[in-house]
């Protein structure tokens, strides 16, 4: 009923003015620019890996569309704009529409669809060594996001705002479930709908501007999972305590809902001529309920109750509540002409209170000695709580005093305080009731220069943390960034960037250290202006992460390392000759790190114009992906060669 009523309200809201306007004055005909055609896909090798990484699908594709109104339509809009991007075959497409009447209303609408696919060879795959791919956790889902916002009287002193956002995530997948000391492959299907309604008022009165928005989020999730056909033996195929652990059936249904009122407000005010104050506040209190019912049949063992059992009826009822708020007060002060000081305080707080009541009925339980004890019921209530507060002070000075130069320097301090309750999630706290605090001071400075086609900028930031909350929290971090470029007319353009981050922890028992480097240089040469352009780039990326870990099986402390050591080379050209335009590029990429791989990529696109309005576009994209064998990686099982060919009609009004 509520759904029908909302639909009706929507029809009422949109339909009356639309109907009236359509009848009064038909919009003058105008033709959009568009590119429409068909994409062919040819994949050899591991198609699932291709889909997990790229997933360009065959089929009709609206590559692009752009339409502008050519004249106002009285009573409906002064201006309207529609554009679309990759709608059709997938894996991602979007549509955007905006229209309005100056000073009366503005409507913005977007829709975006993404097809999400994952079937990785080495992910959640206990049988990779046997050459079985993909892993047991896969999905083939879609996400649709709709967003609409209506501003009434935009640009006036008071502007009411109405908004609605819907995010739908759904589709099938496969997963695993650890039960009865074995793990089993499941089919599952999820559907979630996240709606947000909002209403607000923006104001712009003299020196004071701001907005107050009240929103309501309504989130619904459902998940049904069942044992995959033929997966009853589970991943552990040897007996446990002398008994094979198998499943005849597993079925679980989970639903959850979360309601969240969200209040947000901000205000800015001009004090005198040189000082601006900004304040903001957000509050979101989420209340969630979840229910789960599960029925398992087979031959299982539980170390918790020290019994074998033939079935499990599990029901879980849980509640989770978070109270979140975030507030800030800032000032922007114009100290001197072209010298500004900005600074402020930001604080955010999040508290979580959760409760889960788990009722487990173990059917036909048998002791390890073989004595039947019938059905056993076990009730467990978990109560969890987390309190977290983050408080930040910051100040920055920017100066543009010396012609082409600009400088900035800043400082910030963030203090974090986290407390886990006695019964928090078992994965979080090493000891119950732990409290952690951490303070990080950040100092940064930067300079930029631009004159006569030459640009240059350099930035440096230093972070000092007093102690870690997580083992990967640094106690010291340095970030460097250099960027330079030179452009001479339309003939030559050179650019280079270098970014490097060094982070480390002080504790030798943790031994944490990270270095990340990214280098890229590119060159563009246009020997014939607007006719022919060559471009090339070369890059290096390097990452080293090191940390000591305690491996669980023997509790030995051993080093753990992640490496990325790669290079990229790219080259191409753009050419325009009479009615023919060509844009082609080739990329070669190699990584010799923890996942050694190479990528050979070709992008080529040619358009031939027939007259002023029509063009035919041919497109060829090739991706060759090859992994070298490495520990726990799929090696050649992951390789693929994917060619996509597209033919499109390009209409230019």
């Amino acid at each position: 009923m509520r759904k029908s009523f909302r639909l009706a309200l929507a029809v009422l809201t949109i339909g009356i003015p639309a109907g009236a306007a359509l009848a009064q004055t038909p919009p003058p005909p105008s033709v959009p620019e568009f590119e429409l055609g068909y994409r062919f896909v040819d994949v050899s090798g591991n198609d699932q890996m291709y889909r997990s990484q790229i997933n360009d699908r065959p089929g009709f594709l609206l590559h692009m569309l752009s339409w502008n109104s050519t004249a106002p339509v009285d009573g409906l809009f002064d201006y309207a704009h529609l554009d679309a991007d990759d709608v059709g075959a997938g894996p991602a497409g979007s549509l955007r529409f905006s229209a309005g009447q100056v000073n009366i209303y503005r409507l913005d609408f977007t829709w975006r669809r993404t097809n999400l696919y994952s079937a990785l060879p080495a992910f959640a795959n206990p049988f990779l060594d046997d050459g079985i791919v993909p892993g047991q956790q896969t999905y083939n889902r879609s996400r649709d996001i709709y967003d609409a916002e209506l501003q009434i009287l935009p640009g006036k002193k008071f502007t009411p705002i109405l908004g609605f956002t819907r995010n739908i995530y759904r589709g099938p997948g496969t997963t695993t479930y650890h039960v009865g000391e074995n793990e089993f492959a499941l089919d599952d299907r999820v559907q979630s709908v996240d709606d947000e309604y909002r209403i607000g008022l923006a104001f712009d009165v003299g020196p004071v501007r701001g907005a107050v928005i009240q929103g309501w989020r309504r989130y619904r999730w459902s998940d049904t999972a069942s044992l995959q056909p033929g997966a009853g033996d589970g991943n552990i195929t040897f007996p446990i305590l002398g008994q094979p652990i198998t499943a005849d059936g597993i079925a679980r249904t989970t639903t959850s809902k979360v309601n969240t009122p969200v209040t947000s407000a901000w205000i800015t005010g001009q004090l005198f001529s040189r000082v601006k104050l900004i304040g903001s506040y957000v509050r979101a209190d989420a209340n969630g309920d979840a229910q789960s019912a599960e029925t398992d049949n087979g031959s299982f063992v539980s170390f918790q109750i020290a019994r074998f059992f033939a079935g499990l009826d599990d029901s879980i009822s849980s509640k989770a509540k978070t109270d979140y708020w975030r507030g800030s007060v800032r000032a922007e002060i114009n100290l001197l002409p072209n010298v500004d000081l900005t600074g402020g305080w930001t604080e955010k707080s999040r508290t979580l209170d959760g409760m889960a009541l788990v009722t487990s009925l173990y059917l036909d339980a048998v002791t390890y000695a073989g004595v039947s004890v019938g059905d056993l019921q076990k009730l467990v209530q978990n109560d969890t709580a987390i309190d977290r507060t983050d408080r930040t002070f910051d100040a920055t000075v920017t100066a543009r005093l010396f012609g082409p130069f600009a400088f900035n320097a800043g400082w910030s301090q963030t203090h974090q305080d986290v407390t886990f309750s006695d019964q928090s999630s078992e994965v979080l706290a090493a000891e119950p009731g732990q409290n952690f605090t951490r303070t990080v001071n950040t100092y940064g400075t930067g300079v930029s220069y631009a004159q006569s086609g030459l640009t240059f900028s350099a930035d440096y930031r230093r972070d000092d943390g007093d102690q870690p909350i997580f083992r990967t929290d640094f106690t010291g971090r340095d970030r460097f960034k250099l960027r330079g470029g030179w452009k001479w007319k339309d003939l030559v353009q050179i650019g280079a960037t270098w970014q490097e981050t060094h982070a480390h922890g002080d504790a030798p028992e943790i031994g944490y250290s990270t270095k990340v480097r990214e280098l890229l240089a590119d060159l563009e040469v246009g020997p014939v202006a607007k006719i022919l352009t060559f471009h090339a780039s070369a890059g290096e990326f390097k990452t080293t992460r090191d940390i000591l870990i305690r491996q669980p099986q023997d509790f030995d402390i051993v080093p753990s390392a992640q490496r990325e050591m790669g290079h990229t080379w790219e080259g191409g050209l753009r050419a325009l000759w009479k009615s023919l335009t060509v844009d082609a590029a080739y990329l070669w990429m190699q990584n010799n790190g923890s996942v050694p791989f190479t990528i050979n990529r070709v992008r080529a696109r040619a358009e031939y114009g027939f007259g002023a309005n029509v063009g035919v576009v041919g497109e060829w994209i090739r991706d060759q992906y090859g992994e070298k064998p490495a520990f726990d990686q799929a090696g050649s099982l992951a390789d693929y060669n994917a060619n996509r060919y597209g033919v499109y009609l390009h209409w230019r009004p």
């Binding site: 029908s4 009523f5 029809v11 339909g15 109907g19 009848a23 502008n68 004249a71 106002p72 002064d78 201006y79 990759d86 979007s94 000073n103 669809r113 993404t114 994952s118 795959n125 206990p126 060594d129 956790q137 479930y177 650890h178 979101a284 969630g288 989770a320 979140y324 975030r326 922007e332 900005t342 959760g354 978990n382 543009r400 928090s424 994965v427 979080l428 930029s448 220069y449 909350i469 083992r471 990967t472 650019g495 504790a507 028992e509 943790i510 890229l520 990326f541 992460r545 305690r550 669980p552 099986q553 023997d554 753990s560 992640q562 923890s594 996942v595 791989f597 990528i599 520990f631 726990d632």
Partner: protein, 322 residues
């Protein structure tokens, strides 16, 4: 149900009435008027195909005919005309100043206000000096300097027609001009968000006008922008993991592109998990040590999420098994 159906019927009647009633009064729609600069569309960026009559254009159009005609579709033309007869001289003079001497000088470029670099952008800021809870046009991290200013990204007369806000190139290409390394990671690495393909752009996660030190957009609830799309990771969960406790999405993921599946920081999932879930001494840290049956020499234990599937948080299992 009755209420919903009634409302639907009512909506249908009213929609029909909206369509039919005026049609009865005016069965033959009048032809659309020829657009003039005064009533030209206030579309976002695209020039109006129907050019304005030259007699109605400002003097500047005598030489800059196409430029001035196209400006009728510019959002800047929209605001100067609504609700009053257009002063078409405003088209150019609002920003370029009085062009009399420029005209008298035979088009001498030195005699007209032009827009280059930071000085040119100062004029933009005389109207667009906007500040809200996050962004600041005047003091943001892309604030007005010789190296980066409004005109580095926006083009009044040569904007991309498919994009809003008069930006000079498509968002990804535009940001790539300075952030080439990050752009290359999106384009080249095997696991990355589909930037500039299907509608996702840098602007989904970043606000180019944000303040220094605050480069990532927040959701309306004040969280990281990741949760604008990945809402199912938001919770709240009874058994929370990283999000919202001490870390965030970036504790495990590289959103700008990664060599590792799922855009993870580490190639092997167990190495990623154990980087926090190891108790090796030193200062107390969050993250419990896995018990000894997790034998990493066996493939099934090298991928922790094989069993701990609810790694983003769970309402059902304290150890995130479901």
């Amino acid at each position: 149900m009755v209420r919903g159906r009634t409302a639907l019927v009512l909506a249908g009647i009213l929609f029909g009435a909206g369509v039919l009633a005026p049609a009865q009064e005016s069965p033959t729609p009048a032809p659309a008027a020829t657009p003039t600069p005064a009533m030209a569309p206030a579309a976002e960026t695209t020039p109006a195909p129907a050019a304005a009559k030259s007699s109605e254009l400002p003097k500047c159009a005598d030489c800059h005919t196409e430029l001035v005609a196209a400006f009728a579709a510019n959002p800047h033309a929209r605001w100067s005309h609504k609700g009053k007869p257009p002063d078409i001289e405003e088209y150019c003079s609002t920003c370029h100043g009085d062009g009399t001497k420029h005209i008298e000088g035979g088009g001498d470029a030195a005699l007209i206000q032009k827009f280059h670099g930071a000085e040119g952008a100062e004029l933009c800021l005389s109207c667009h000096e906007k500040t809200n809870e996050h962004a600041s046009f005047a003091t943001g991290f892309h604030s007005n300097t010789a190296a980066v200013n409004c005109l580095s990204c926006h083009s009044i007369h040569k904007a991309v027609k498919t994009e809003p806000f008069l930006i000079a190139e498509k968002p990804g290409e535009l940001c790539q001009t300075c952030h080439a390394g990050i752009s290359a990671a999106f384009r080249n690495k095997p696991y990355a968000h589909r930037l500039d393909r299907g509608g996702m752009t840098c602007l989904d996660c970043h606000d180019p006008h944000d303040r220094k030190g605050q480069t990532v957009k927040l959701t309306r609830q004040g969280e990281l922008a990741c949760l604008n799309c990945h809402t199912e990771k938001r919770g709240p969960f009874v058994f929370d993991h990283v999000t919202g406790t001490g870390g965030d999405c970036l504790s495990c993921h590289q959103p700008h592109g990664s060599d590792n599946p799922k855009m993870l920081l580490w190639a092997r999932v167990d190495q990623l998990c154990l980087s926090c879930h190891s108790q090796t001494g030193g200062p107390a840290t969050a993250g419990a040590q896995p018990p000894s049956f997790h034998d990493l020499t066996l493939p099934r234990y090298r991928n922790c999420t094989s069993c701990h599937v609810a790694v983003h948080g769970s309402n059902l299992s304290p150890v995130l098994l479901k």
